[in-house]
């Protein structure tokens, strides 16, 4: 059995792992639709987006490895950390749920990620700026895809509208966490995340207006993902995701 790695987390490493984990975990959630999507076309769309996200995770893990300099590679970060070492947002680890849950989450996250990577393309850290510019375009398509579906679910039948609204109620407590600021020492390298909130709200409210859905008022926000305080769902996801690598270290195709 292979052992869990210890990561020397400078603020930059921690930031890069956080964004990589967001992409990896959401990518895995989308990949769970493979073989289960409502139609073939949507199955390919979900798999494409899952691969976009997993590709983003790989690039970010590589940047984290270089920043850490501890000899870890992308597989070590993905497969050999326990849930408390994962730095992802809580919203991405929530179960895929039904199609409305998946699409509503995808819209809320993709709008956020698009704005984040657009802002990060002005980073003073050149590898990050280059990656961000490319990723912002990828996320713009995720926004387009998810928005198209959210409008059709929200402004569709009574059943689809009810499911989309329930998905929003379920996911709304995880929104606040997306806008937590990164470490002060990263100013210039990383955009000021709280400042993205206004644009996010405007874009989400405009989408939900068109979809005839309401962004619920949140009484209590869930947070702690960046600090490794995750829910049960992530443990189950990692058990499935890491099992093979941990049982057969170094296994290849």
């Amino acid at each position: 059995m292979s052992v869990t790695i210890a990561v020397a987390e400078t603020p930059l490493v921690r930031f890069l792992l956080g964004r990589a984990d967001d992409a990896l975990i959401l990518g895995h959630r989308l990949s769970e639709w493979t073989g289960r999507a409502p139609i073939l076309e949507e199955e390919l769309a979900l798999a494409n987006m899952a691969l976009d996200l997993i590709g983003q995770a790989r690039a970010l893990y590589s940047m984290a490895a270089e920043a850490e300099g501890g000899g870890h590679d992308e597989d070590a970060y993905a497969y050999l950390r326990d849930d408390a070492q994962f730095r992802n947002l809580l919203i991405v680890e929530q179960p895929r749920g039904d199609f409305a849950d998946t699409m509503v989450r995808q819209a809320l996250y993709a709008i956020y990620a698009k704005l984040f990577w657009q802002a990060a393309s002005r980073s003073t850290h050149p590898p990050l700026a280059g990656f961000a510019a490319k990723t912002a375009k990828e996320m713009a398509y995720h926004v387009r895809h998810a928005s198209t579906w959210v409008i059709r679910l929200g402004d569709g039948t009574e059943a689809s509208r009810a499911r989309a609204q329930v998905a929003l109620e379920r996911l709304a407590p995880y929104v606040e966490e997306m806008f937590e600021p990164e470490d002060d020492s990263l100013t210039g390298i990383v955009p000021a995340v709280p400042e993205l909130r206004e644009d996010w709200e405007r874009e989400v409210r405009s989408l939900l207006g068109e979809a005839r859905l309401n962004l619920p008022d949140v009484v209590f926000s869930q947070r702690g993902g960046r600090a490794g305080r995750h829910g049960e769902a992530l443990g189950h996801l990692l058990a499935v995701f890491q099992h093979l690598h941990r049982s057969h270290p170094g296994a290849t195709w």
Binding site: P38, I39, L40, E41, L44, N48, H145
Partner: protein, 95 residues
């Protein structure tokens, strides 16, 4: 969502070097926007295209295969319609 309830669309892609859109296949989608996205996800995953058209399959009027004798066979004997009876000077190059 049963497939029979979702209309079929024919997909045409203009490739990187291509001058015209070519038929590549079909997708199921509820409306034109979803059909374009589905076509993007199904048929342009490997950088094949620069432009996509989708057309409702129901909007295509097709010739009846049973009519092929009267439609197409008569042209087989009209070789003079092919521009192969002219000598093209070498200087003209490729026409």
């Amino acid at each position: 969502m049963s497939e029979s309830a979702v209309p079929l669309w024919e997909v045409f892609i203009r490739a990187r070097q291509g001058l015209s859109h070519r038929h590549v296949g079909s997708v199921h989608a509820a409306d034109a926007t979803l059909a374009l996205q589905a076509a993007r996800d199904v048929y342009t995953r490997r950088g094949e295209g620069l432009s996509i058209w989708v057309v409702p399959s129901a909007a295509i009027a097709a010739s009846d295969p049973a009519d092929k004798e009267e439609l197409f066979e008569p042209t087989a004997s009209k070789i003079y319609r092919h521009p192969t009876f002219y000598d093209i000077p070498d200087d003209v190059g490729h026409m």
